[in-house]
C-alpha cells in the first residue's frame, strides 16, 4: 500500500538569528498515524509544529499537506488544528462557545453547529460543562476542552504541543490512554510533541527522535528501544549499558568487538563500522539473563554482584566483570532472581541481536 503521505516536510531549515532551530528536516507522515516527536527541550519540536500550523515560516523547504504546497498559507487557511501547550482556551467564552468558534467561522448554520458541539462534547464527556467558563474547570477538563475545540472542525491533521505537561503524574497516565483511544476511534492523524520518553513509548505508532534540529532516528517504539542506531537515542530512551570496544570484524550479520579482552557480538543497523575502529554498543538492562552455567547465547561473561537496588516489581543488579578489567554491567531481573544471586560469580548471557552497535 503506497499511498501519498498526508504531510510531507521537505528539507526545511529554520533559523532564529544565530540559532539553527531546524536543519534540513525531511519527514513524511502517513494518514491515520500517531506520530510522536521526541527530543530534549530546545531541539526544535515546537518549531516544527509551528511551521506545520502556519505560525512560523521556514527559511527554506516546503510543507506539503494532502498534495498541496501550504508553506506560505496562513494558519486560518490550513486544514490543521493545534492543541496548545497552555491550551489557549478563550477565557471569555464558555466551553460551548470555545468549541463552536471554528464552526461559526466555517459558516456552518446554527443547527449544524449545535449538532457538532453535542457530538464532540459527548465524545469527550464534556456534556455537563458546556456552559462553564475555562476558569471554572480543572486542568484535565481544560485539556479535554482544548482537544474538543481542535477536533471540532474535523482537521486533517491534529498538532499537539506537549499537551500533558501541565497535568499531574496520575492524571497524565490516564489522559495518555484517553488520547490514544480518541486517536484510534477518530482515525485522525496525530502529531504529538513531547520531551518525555516514557510518554512517547506508551502512546505512539511511530516516534521521531529529534536532536539539535535534526532527526536522530525514526521508527516504532520497539525499534527505538531495542535497536537504537545512535548513542543519543540509546541514552535518551530508557536506561542502557553502553559498551565500548574495538571493532574486530564481521560474522554474517553480527559485528564482532573486543571489550576489555572479551569477544562480544552485536548487531549494527544504522552504521557500518570498519575493523580497528572504536565502537559503542547499547545493551538494554532487561536483555541480560542470569545463568548458573555458561549459556548458549551469542554473548556470555561472568560477573560478580556489587550492588542490588530493589525497585518493587524488579531489581537492578550491578555486576563487575572481572575478565573485562572489572567493567560493570547493570541488569534488570525479577525480584526473586535478584534475591537469589549471592556473592558467587554468575553467568550473564545475551543474544547478539539484542546488542545494538551505535553510530556515535
Amino acid at each position: 500500500m503506497t499511498q501519498d503521505p498526508l504531510v510531507r516536510i521537505d528539507q526545511i531549515t529554520k533559523t532564529f538569528g544565530e540559532t539553527v532551530a531546524l536543519e534540513n528536516l525531511t519527514l513524511d507522515i502517513a494518514r491515520g498515524e500517531f506520530v510522536t516527536f521526541l527530543g530534549p527541550s530546545g531541539c526544535g519540536k515546537s518549531t516544527t509544529l509551528r511551521i506545520l500550523g502556519g505560525f512560523e515560516q521556514p527559511d527554506s523547504g516546503r510543507v506539503i499537506l494532502d498534495g498541496t504546497d501550504v508553506t506560505r498559507q496562513p494558519p486560518e487557511k490550513r486544514h490543521v488544528n493545534m492543541v496548545f501547550q497552555d491550551y489557549a482556551l478563550f477565557p471569555h467564552m464558555t466551553v460551548r462557545q470555545n468549541i463552536s468558534f471554528a464552526l461559526e467561522l466555517k459558516g456552518m448554520d446554527r443547527a449544524a453547529i449545535r449538532a457538532r458541539q453535542d457530538e464532540i462534547m459527548d465524545f469527550l464527556e464534556l456534556g455537563a460543562y458546556g456552559d462553564r467558563y475555562p476558569g471554572q474547570l480543572s486542568g484535565g477538563q481544560r485539556q479535554r476542552v482544548a482537544l474538543a475545540r481542535a477536533l471540532a472542525p474535523d482537521p486533517a491533521l491534529l498538532l499537539l504541543d506537549e499537551p500533558l505537561a501541565a497535568l499531574d503524574a496520575k492524571l497524565r497516565g490516564q489522559v495518555q490512554q484517553e488520547l490514544k483511544s480518541i486517536q484510534r476511534r477518530t482515525h485522525k492523524t496525530f502529531f504529538f510533541v513531547t520531551h518525555d520518553q516514557e510518554e512517547a513509548l506508551t502512546m505512539s505508532d511511530r516516534i521521531v527522535v529529534m536532536n539539535d534540529g535534526r532527526v536522530e532516528q525514526d521508527g516504532t517504539p520497539e525499534e527505538l528501544y531495542f535497536h537504537p542506531t545512535s548513542r543519543f537515542v540509546a541514552e535518551f530512551i530508557g536506561e542502557t549499558n553502553l559498551i565500548s570496544g574495538e571493532m574486530r570484524g564481521r560474522e554474517g550479520d553480527a559485528v564482532v568487538m573486543d571489550w576489555f579482552g572479551q569477544t562480544l557480538r552485536g548487531h549494527a543497523s544504522g552504521t557500518t563500522p570498519r575493523p580497528g575502529e572504536t565502537i559503542t554498543a547499547s545493551l538494554r538492562l532487561e536483555k541480560l539473563g542470569f545463568h548458573n552455567a555458561r549459556p548458549e547465547t551469542g554473548n556470555a561473561v561472568q560477573g560478580r554482584v556489587v550492588r542490588k537496588t530493589f525497585l518493587g516489581s524488579r531489581m537492578a543488579v550491578d555486576l563487575a566483570v572481572e575478565e573485562a578489567q572489572g567493567a560493570t554491567l547493570r541488569a534488570f531481573v525479577d525480584a526473586e532472581t535478584g534475591q537469589a544471586v549471592g556473592s558467587d560469580p554468575v553467568w550473564l548471557g545475551w543474544d547478539s541481536d539484542s546488542m545494538a552497535v551505535l553510530r556515535d
Binding site: 494558519p75 489557549a88 471569555h92 471554528a102
Partner: protein, 262 residues
Amino acid sequence: MIRGNRIFLSCAYWAFVLYVFVPLILMVMMGFKDSKFIGFPIRSWTLDWYSGVFADAEVLSTFGYSIAIAVLSTIASVVVGTWIAVLLERSRFKGWGVMFGLTVLPALVPGIISAIAFRIYARYLGIEPGMGAIIWAHAVHNVPFVVLVVMARLSTLPKSQIEAARDLGADPLVAFLRITLPYLVPAILGASIFCLLLSFDDFVRSFFLGGYDPTLPVLIFAKLKSGMSPEINAIATVALVLTAAIGIWAERFTRRANKDTN
C-alpha cells in the same frame, strides 16, 4: 519599636486623610448654610442653594455641555489610544522608542503651555474656539493614558490566544475583534472613566479653547470672580458626588472584570 512604628504610621495616615478631606467636608457643609456668607458659625441650614442650582438653566446646560465634551473626547481618545497601543505592542520596529515617546508626551506637557499651543495652532488651522476645539485638545491630552493602560493589559495577553484563534480559522481582523478586544474591555473601560474625569475636570484647555459657552469649571471660575457664594459650593458638591460615584463604580467594575478573565 515595631509597635511604636505602627502607631506612628497609622497617625500619619489619619493626618493625611484629614488633610485631604477637611477642605472637602467644609466645602460640602457650606453648601447647606442658610446665609450668603461663607464661614463659621453656621446658624441654620437650608437646601435652597441646591434647588437654586437645579432650577438654574445656565448651570444645567453647562453640566450637559461638560458631559458631552467629556464623552466625545473620551471616545476619540479611546479609539486612537487603543489603536496606537495595539500597534506599539505588536512589534518592536525601528523608531519604536521615538514613537512611544511622542505618544506619551502630551500627558507630560504642562496644561497652560499645551493650551496656548493649541490656541495658536487652532487659529492657524482656522478652527473656531468652542466645543470642537475643546474636544480636540482633551482627546490629544488623554490619548497617552489610554495607550499606557491598554498596552499594559495587552502585554499580558498570551500570544497563544491569537494563534489559537487564527488556527481555528480567524483572519487577523476577526481574531482582533473576537479575542483581543474582549480581553481589553476592562482596560478600555478603566481608561475611559479616567479620560471622562480628566476632561470633566479640565479648566485650562477649556478656558483657552472655549467659545461663548463655558464648561463647568469655567463657569465656576466666572461665578467666583463675582464673589464667593454657597451656590458655588452646591454646584461643586454635585460635581464631586457625580465624579466620585463614577470613579468608585469604575474601579470596582474593572477589578471584577480583571479577576474574571485571569
